[in-house]
């Protein structure tokens, strides 16, 4: 892979070089770097690499870090999900205090598609079937009369010795049962919320609402949403065969290929993306000037794990839609400034900038 050196962030033993992007008008004399949509489209690549039921890996190539970072931040903090917001506790004689239990329940990911619900206009509003999902939980721990003698296993000694996420039961309200909603409940049915002993009881009602991660992390739809830059490794001088194995071990598995027949050591272009750029190779005095390490500044390898009702591949399109919504909001307001002729007298509540 031959990469334009302008796109590379150098990785040396002690520091990273050429970190900032240079694709701005006026940076290079006699070159036009102004915004050009058709050229951007030509250079842009957005490719899904791996997809599972819970996570996705995709590449976005040809965008600036500020754009990639905007998508990442929106996926974490602004794509809405549904989570328990109010917990009405009728009875709780477990050892877990009401507020601690409520907090734990809030963090349980729920299988409710947020696109089917409205965002509550005000948290103090009473809530309707369009914006609130109700769950109930009622569990009482008892002794098991048939427990084998001498047993010390709580599973055998007691009934209901654990309050699990599966004990949260959806109570369809209003139109909800007839609408598109189905399979509503926790995504993972085996989350232990509290441990119980005979005589302890929990009875509660939960009101789940739609919210965003910047308000509370429980609303974040992702477990992780991160990107890294594609590594770029170039061998500048032939690697001596007698040290080929040592050289290979300086990199992640699959990055270096040793061809014993042709007696050459090569970098596998496909395996290169898995390297972690540890700079181990630069610690060796002989290897350090045989190889050049770098990363590609505009090649973002995203890794997103969904922990919500969204399928992992739906998260980026959702983030893009939210970003477009934000742009439209700002544009509407900025256009209204245009009509007032940018009159900034008297309309400034802030102090001097």
């Amino acid at each position: 892979m031959d990469v334009n050196p302008r796109r590379l962030v150098g990785v040396t033993a002690e520091r990273a070089t050429h970190v900032s992007s240079t694709d701005f008008p006026g940076h290079y004399p006699n070159e036009d770097h102004s915004w050009n949509l058709s050229q951007f489209r030509q250079n842009l690549k957005a490719e899904v690499q791996r997809l599972s039921n819970r996570s996705i890996e995709f590449d976005i190539v040809g965008v600036d870090a500020s754009i990639a970072n905007a998508f990442r931040r929106i996926m974490i903090a602004e794509v809405p999900t549904v989570a328990a917001e109010r917990v009405y506790i009728f009875n709780n004689t477990s050892v877990v205090q009401d507020e601690v239990l409520s907090h734990r329940i809030g963090l349980v990911p729920l299988n409710v598609d947020p696109r089917n619900l409205d965002m509550k206009a005000d948290v103090e509003d009473p809530g309707t079937d369009r914006d609130t999902i109700i769950f109930r939980a009622h569990i009482l721990c008892e002794r098991n009369p048939k427990a084998p003698k001498g047993s010390e296993d709580p599973k055998e000694l007691y009934k209901n010795h654990e309050f699990l996420s599966s004990h949260l039961v959806w109570q369809p309200a209003g139109e909800q049962a007839s609408l598109m909603m189905k399979d509503i409940g926790p995504l993972n049915l085996n989350i232990v919320l509290a441990k119980l002993r005979p005589g302890q009881e929990i009875e509660m009602e939960l009101h789940a609402v739609k919210g965003v991660g910047k308000d509370h992390a429980k609303f974040s739809p992702v477990a992780t949403a991160s990107y890294r830059l594609h590594p770029n490794i170039v061998i500048t001088k032939p690697i001596p065969m007698h040290r080929a194995e040592e050289f290979k071990n300086c990199f992640a598995p699959g990055v270096v290929v040793v061809d014993r027949v042709k007696k050459v050591v090569k970098i596998d272009p496909k395996g290169m993306r898995n390297d972690t750029v540890t700079r181990e190779v630069l610690r060796d005095p002989e290897f350090s000037d045989m190889v050049q390490l770098s990363r590609i500044r505009d090649f973002f390898i995203f890794n997103v794990e969904s922990e919500s009702a969204y399928a992992p591949e739906e998260l980026l399109p959702e983030a893009i839609n939210i970003m477009r919504g934000k742009i439209a909001d700002i544009r509407r307001s900025a256009e209204s400034l245009l009509s007032t002729g940018g009159d900034n007298g008297g309309d400034v509540p802030m102090a001097d900038p």
Partner: protein, 112 residues
């Protein structure tokens, strides 16, 4: 919330009368839009300077400073940047959906 009373975009005191240099305060936005907008504004050759700041971490505002060459209007540059940023989002979304539809990627099953 105060978002009903606070306008989304305000021009701050100290802007030049023709808006060739102005600071815009954008309500309820953060680094997410600030940095993306700054980058797109700097792609405009008429922009002499552009920078943004989050004046205080617990206030949901950003301030975008724009200074233009040759008495161009910074407000028009801002609107152009917003339009271009929207085009960019559409382009990325289209490319991503194409790749997803083509289905030429590895699929695997992850256990919870």
């Amino acid at each position: 919330m105060s978002s009903q009373t606070t306008p989304k975009v305000q021009i701050m005191k100290g802007a030049t009368p023709n808006l060739s240099a102005a600071t815009y305060q954008i309500h309820d936005e953060s680094h997410t839009m600030g940095n993306a907008l700054r980058w797109m504004l700097l792609k405009n050759p008429h922009v002499e300077f552009c920078g943004y700041s989050v004046p205080h971490p617990s206030e949901p505002n950003i301030q975008v400073r724009i200074q233009m060459y040759d008495e161009h209007s910074s407000l028009e540059a801002l609107l152009k940047a917003l339009g271009d940023l929207d085009d960019l989002c559409v382009a990325v979304g289209e490319k991503y959906n194409e790749s997803l539809k083509a289905g030429e990627f590895e699929r695997w099953v992850e256990k919870s």
